[in-house]
């Protein structure tokens, strides 16, 4: 028996639940009542929809940027020399990930709401209540919170396998701690950064539950728009067209990221 045949069950799964659905989406996207048309895509060009897409991209961009700014130092810290410390902190980071992200988001709702823990604390220290829920910042916060681990781990996995000798070599050649980071550690960790960015940016663009829960529906993102077409409006054709546009965007951003990756094989980063 060939080794490749072990993958047959998964291949079948892919065929039934990924490849066939994609063809169905393509079919719906280019037809209305069975007639071939581009109207579904034309409809998307309305300012309202383009606006939603722009907003989604912007929010996902901010989310990715914040994840990178918080995640990189964190990964650097986790990959530090002290193994005992690292193991403890890695576990602390993993534990929240074992929980469903919906649960985690609900938990934040109770923290952020007007009479929630945070507001009570703010009142207690004399700052007074702030409107936290149902703001753009709440959505952004929720996204960053949920996606941060997906930024940290690819970077961490590259850093932790990096050759410490290289850092010593750089020091030996006159580089202080900052220059060692800038000239050796950072460039060598780029595959992890690229991997992390793609694992945060793409799901962030397509996310739909977080904005609804923390944004209260007042900030529609592209994922919400697609979901609406299928579940609320029942316009499968338009929904399919939007999905295809989404997929196109994902492939484009993948392509762009790939160009930034110094070694395309990405030597063992998450993908």
């Amino acid at each position: 028996m060939k080794r490749s045949s072990f993958a047959a069950p998964y291949g079948l799964w892919m065929l039934v639940f990924t490849i066939v659905p994609i063809f169905i989406i393509v079919y719906y996207a280019f037809t209305i009542n069975g007639a071939v048309t581009l109207d579904n895509f034309r409809m998307f060009l309305e300012p309202e929809f383009v606006g939603i897409l722009t907003f989604s991209l912007w929010l996902a961009f901010l989310c990715t940027l914040l994840c990178l700014l918080f995640g990189y130092p964190c990964a650097l810290f986790l990959a530090g020399r002290d193994m005992r410390r690292a193991t403890l902190f890695v576990v602390l980071f993993v534990i929240p990930m074992w929980m469903n992200f919906l649960l985690r988001t609900y938990a934040w709702m109770t923290l952020l709401e007007d009479t929630g823990l945070i507001n009570r604390f703010l009142e207690w220290i004399g700052i007074g209540r702030k409107r936290l829920m149902y703001t753009e910042n709440a959505v952004l916060f929720g996204l960053v919170y949920n996606f941060l681990p997906f930024m940290i781990f690819p970077i961490y996995s590259v850093l932790v396998r990096s050759d410490r000798n290289l850092e010593e070599a750089a020091q030996d050649l006159g580089a202080n701690a900052w220059l060692v980071f800038l000239r050796v550690t950072l460039p060598l960790s780029l595959p992890g950064v690229v991997s992390g960015v793609s694992m945060v940016f793409m799901p962030a663009v397509t996310t739909f539950v977080v904005p609804r829960l923390l944004g209260g529906g007042s900030f529609m993102m592209f994922g919400d728009l697609i979901e609406n077409q299928f579940l609320t409006t029942g316009d499968w054709n338009f929904g399919s067209a939007l999905s295809l546009i989404m997929m196109g965007l994902i492939f484009i951003s993948l392509g762009i990221l790939h160009r930034f990756n110094p070694d395309a094989e990405s030597n063992g980063a998450v993908w």
Partner: protein
């Protein structure tokens, strides 16, 4: 206390000095009260089996480890707490540690760009280094595309281009095959003489140490066993450990009866050593090439040939003399099972204190 006089061309000036350096990792003592000095333009080799503390010594001088106790002096100045990037030494690392994201040129230029040397100057100096190590024309190659020997050359060039006062080399030839290693040994030695840079070299290969060094420091379990020129260390090993580690040798239990008289293999021999006292237990070292094959009745010792191996230049025979098997190297050969005699001149009988019974070094 060090029995070395500077070979020609070496300043009698202590460039680096270790004073009572001790290094303890958790519970194991890697170095204990090590004292050593290195003169300008000297080629010093730290030699010993793995775990003897030779690499630790190098890392302490490079600044990558802090000694638990003791001082490191550079030109008389205490640099014990100075970080690596402020030291005027450069290191060639064991597995080269080349930067995989940089090409050959940028690897070699790394130190110069950190030091903000002007671009034309960098190009000139890197070019000179490429000529020196014979890598001209490979500037744009990725270091991953180079052979082991070429990577080694890049590593050497990357360190030397900074014109360090001292070059530290941590088993730099360990990953190369025998032939390449021999070539590189000669090349490194030539480079060192031409550039007039002090080399501090770490190896466990005694032949390498003998070939290249002005001074060899034999180490064992964090302690210096002997310091001396290659010839002195080979001819007059201070103890059985040094004798066994440097070259091949037969080490026998013996009793020093009085000055110039030693007894081993149930026979008394005339030797040239004095000052060991009377009836003192000592070790005797007989180098295999110093034992001469003679007819059985003419030998000082006699024994039966147990095995014969052809080694190219000479035969290696194991001869059972009743007091253990002696290894003999000779261009003539006696067949297995034959009784032969062995003779040795007094000058080649080396007497050493028993290890452990006297404080070495």
């Amino acid at each position: 206390m060090q029995d070395k006089s500077p070979p020609s061309g070496i300043d009698d000036y202590h460039l680096i000095e270790l004073v009572d350096v001790t290094k303890v990792f958790d519970t194991t003592v890697a170095l204990s009260r090590m004292n050593l000095y290195v003169r300008r333009r000297e080629f010093v080799t730290l030699l010993g089996p793995s775990g003897c503390g030779k690499s630790t010594t190098l890392r302490i001088i490079g600044g990558f480890e802090q000694p638990t106790d003791g001082k490191v002096l550079f030109e008389g100045e205490d640099i014990t707490r100075l970080p690596p990037y402020k030291r005027r030494v450069n290191t060639v690392f064991q597995r080269y540690a080349l930067f995989p994201h940089l090409n050959v040129f940028d690897n070699i230029a790394f130190g110069l760009t950190i030091a903000k040397v002007h671009r034309p100057e960098i190009t000139r100096r890197v070019g000179a280094m490429l000529d020196l190590v014979g890598l001209r024309g490979m500037e744009r190659r990725s270091v991953d595309a180079l052979s082991g020997g070429q990577q080694q050359r890049v590593a050497i060039a990357r360190a030397l281009v900074n014109e360090p006062e001292v070059l530290l080399l941590d088993e730099p030839l360990g990953a190369l095959d025998l032939r390449l290693r021999k070539d590189m040994q000669l090349e490194l030695k030539k480079m060192q003489q031409r550039l007039g840079i002090t080399f501090l070299y770490v190896t466990h290969d005694q032949e390498e140490a003998l070939t290249m060094s002005d001074t060899i420091v034999v180490m064992r379990e964090g302690r210096i066993q002997q310091i001396g020129t290659p010839k002195r260390i080979y001819d007059e090993p201070k103890n059985a450990f040094v004798a066994a580690f440097i070259g091949e040798s037969n080490i026998l239990d013996a009793v020093m009866i009085r000055d110039e008289r030693v007894r081993f293999c149930e026979r008394e021999f005339i030797c040239v050593d004095r000052g060991f006292g009377q009836n003192k237990r000592v070790d005797v070292v007989l180098r295999p090439e110093d034992l001469t094959l003679v007819p059985a009745e003419q030998g000082m010792l006699s024994g039966v040939v147990m095995s014969v191996l052809f080694k190219g230049v000479h035969y290696e025979m194991m001869i059972d003399c009743g007091c253990g098997a002696l290894k003999v190297h000779s261009t003539s050969m006696a067949p297995e099972g034959e009784r032969v005699g062995l003779s040795v001149v007094p000058f080649n009988i080396h007497i050493m204190e028993k290890v452990g019974e006297a404080c070495p070094a």
